[in-house]
């Protein structure tokens, strides 16, 4: 199985002009690969480096050391359009008040494939419509995006990323605004896309259980370095999670799927943590 992404000894730090906390934020030497066809989850507390990692992978930021390769080519050698043909990002949301229709927005996903063209082709339109159908927003095609609900917008943005026909789909907190039903649909959709089209998926999420359920492997980041990289049952481990997140958890095995399920020990309010159900 080939690698879609290879990250080798990548380090990064923001320029000193923006100190964020006591010491400036920095990514230590990260090394990992993303195998073709896998679903990789990226986890970690806030400021662990998840968003920075996405920005490095999409050339928004340049690493201060180390290399990143996409499909065997160094990311520095790929133009933005070439990179966008391979990697699509589903951000958390779109800017407020966008006047474009759903169809117009999804069509923007076709831009990297023919940047010089002024208008999209009939083929582009067909691909866009297929993507809209896949995410269930086809009947909203002529609706302005700004009138949609949060959940509908999320699906539109996902459709745009799918229209890009990428090798790697990066999702940044995809279920953040979705209610339960749409979370379930999102998981189903991602699985379908992964299996039917062989799209590799990189999922950044706060939702440990979603990640544990959906992903083939998990990458746990803390303070800019890799705490562990492995299968969900190896990464979602009580002691490790407690040390990374700084709170007590209990991990069980789901009776239905055999995947790990994380339970947080919520505080009782009188200073003691409730003892987790054993």
């Amino acid at each position: 199985m080939s690698e879609v992404v290879r990250v080798e000894e990548v380090g990064f730090s923001y320029p000193v002009a923006e100190p964020r906390r006591g010491r400036p934020f920095a990514l230590g030497g990260l090394s990992f690969t993303v195998a073709e066809g896998e679903i990789l989850g990226v986890l970690g507390p806030n400021s662990a480096g998840k968003t920075t990692l996405i920005r490095l992978l999409t050339k928004i930021l340049a690493p201060t050391r180390g290399t990143i390769e996409v499909d065997g080519s160094s990311i520095q050698d790929l133009s933005r359009a070439e990179l966008a043909r391979r990697i699509a990002v589903v951000p958390q949301d779109v800017p407020q008040g966008l006047p474009f229709t759903v169809e117009h927005l999804v069509l923007m996903g076709r831009y990297p494939h023919a940047p010089r063209r002024f208008f999209e082709t009939a083929e582009d339109l067909a691909i866009a419509r297929a993507a809209m159908a896949a995410t269930g927003v086809l009947d909203l095609a002529d609706t302005p995006v700004r009138t949609l609900s949060g959940g509908e917008r999320q699906r539109v943005v996902l459709a745009r990323a799918l229209a890009q026909r990428p090798r790697l789909l990066i999702l940044d907190e995809p279920t953040a605004h979705l209610d339960l039903r749409y979370q379930v649909e999102c998981v189903a959709l991602l699985r379908r896309v992964n299996r039917e089209q062989g799209t590799t998926v990189l999922l950044v999420s706060h939702d440990l259980n979603l990640a544990g359920e959906l992903c083939d492997r998990l990458l746990l980041l803390t303070d800019g370095r890799i705490a562990r990289l492995g299968r969900p049952e190896d990464v979602l481990e009580e002691a490790l999670l407690a040390s990374v997140y700084g709170c007590a958890v209990a991990v069980e095995k789901s009776p239905a799927t055999g995947r790990p399920v994380v339970q947080v020990s919520w505080p009782t309010g009188d200073g003691r943590a409730a003892s987790p159900r054993v």
Binding site: L98, Y111, P115
Partner: protein, 337 residues
């Protein structure tokens, strides 16, 4: 219908409207020529040195051309600048370069006419010089390491604009009372009949600015998603911003240098077009070129006819309709980018 068809249809309709406006403008004027006289002048039937010929060919037609060009240039600059800053209230004047150009022209008028031939060109050259200085200042103030943030661009443009506007006020307060009237009137914005060479230069500059913006129209659509998202979709956002900024500055400075500062066209025309055609810049930029021309041509025709033989500054007419329009926009919050 496909986007291409729609664009062609709208451009066709606007083209007809422009033609109608031109015909109207060529037949009315304070010289009160009969329609027959105008036709004779147009077809070469009147003598070369006759009043009709001079009025129609040397005064009305050049002025009509200048008005259409200036209107189109300002409208295109408006579309580009609004897309660039993702702000529907942005106007080319906010760029700061029009105040710089105004300052340059006021200095030129103050320094007095040198040789006879270079008079108009010198004024224009000074105007461009002022615009260049202002534009460079805006760029330098706004750019940070590796980028050109849009919010800073807006603020920087406003600051530079205020600075040069104050400089203009200083100059007018110091100037000889006899010149004051001329300079004050110029600052209101006027379309003058430009001589042939000037018209050619103006057309060339407008065409250049238009091309720079229209070629990026699709990218400007993508930019609306936010810079980070646009970068991730393959758009070279930094280059795009710089190119559109330069083009908008070029268009605005040309208009100021040749016709003085004319406001509101770059705000009103894009909004009306957006309400009619939607937010796709690939439709807006070309139609703005024609629609802006129609708008300013009609305004200028009104300006030179309503109080004939005296004239109003065209800037007065555009402000007269512009200010209430602006209020309407704010109140209804329609015409969002």
């Amino acid at each position: 219908m496909t986007r291409v068809d729609r664009l062609v249809l709208v451009l066709g309709l606007l083209g007809v409207a422009l033609l109608a406006a031109v015909i109207l403008a060529v037949f009315v004027g304070s010289a009160r020529l009969s329609p027959l006289a105008v036709i004779q002048a147009l077809t070469g039937g009147a003598g070369a040195g006759s009043t009709e010929s001079v009025v129609v060919l040397s005064l009305r037609l050049p002025r009509i051309a200048a008005a259409a060009l200036a209107g189109g240039a300002l409208a295109v600059a408006g579309v580009g600048f609004q897309a660039l800053t993702r702000n529907p209230l942005a106007e080319p004047a906010v760029l700061g370069v029009s105040s710089g150009a105004a300052f340059g022209v006021v200095i030129a008028q103050l320094v007095g006419s040198g040789g006879a031939v270079v008079d108009t060109l010198k004024t224009t050259a000074f105007g461009f010089g002022g615009a260049l200085v202002a534009g460079a200042a805006v760029y330098l103030i706004a750019s940070v390491h590796g980028g050109f943030p849009v919010q800073t661009l807006l603020l920087s443009g406003v600051i530079v604009g205020i600075f040069f506007a104050s400089a203009v006020t200083v100059v007018t307060s110091l100037v000889d009372i006899n010149r004051l009237g001329g300079i004050v009137h110029w600052l209101l914005g006027n379309i003058a009949p430009l001589p042939g060479p000037s018209l050619l230069i103006f057309t060339g500059l407008a065409a250049l600015g238009f091309t720079l913006i229209v070629s990026q129209a699709r990218e400007l659509n993508v930019l609306a998603l936010g810079e980070e998202a646009a970068l991730q979709l393959g758009v070279n956002a930094e280059r795009l911003k710089l190119q559109v900024f330069v083009a908008a500055a070029l268009l605005t400075s040309s208009v100021v240098a040749f016709s003085g500062p004319i406001g509101f066209v770059g705000l009103i025309v894009p909004h009306i077009l957006r309400m009619l055609l939607g937010p796709d810049n690939r439709l807006l930029v070309p139609t703005a070129m024609v629609g802006g021309g129609i708008f300013l041509l009609l305004a200028d025709t009104a300006a030179r006819n309503v109080v004939a033989p005296a004239e109003l500054s065209v800037g007065v007419i555009t402000s007269f309709f512009g200010a209430p329009f602006f209020v309407y926009l704010l109140r209804t919050r329609r015409g969002v980018l």
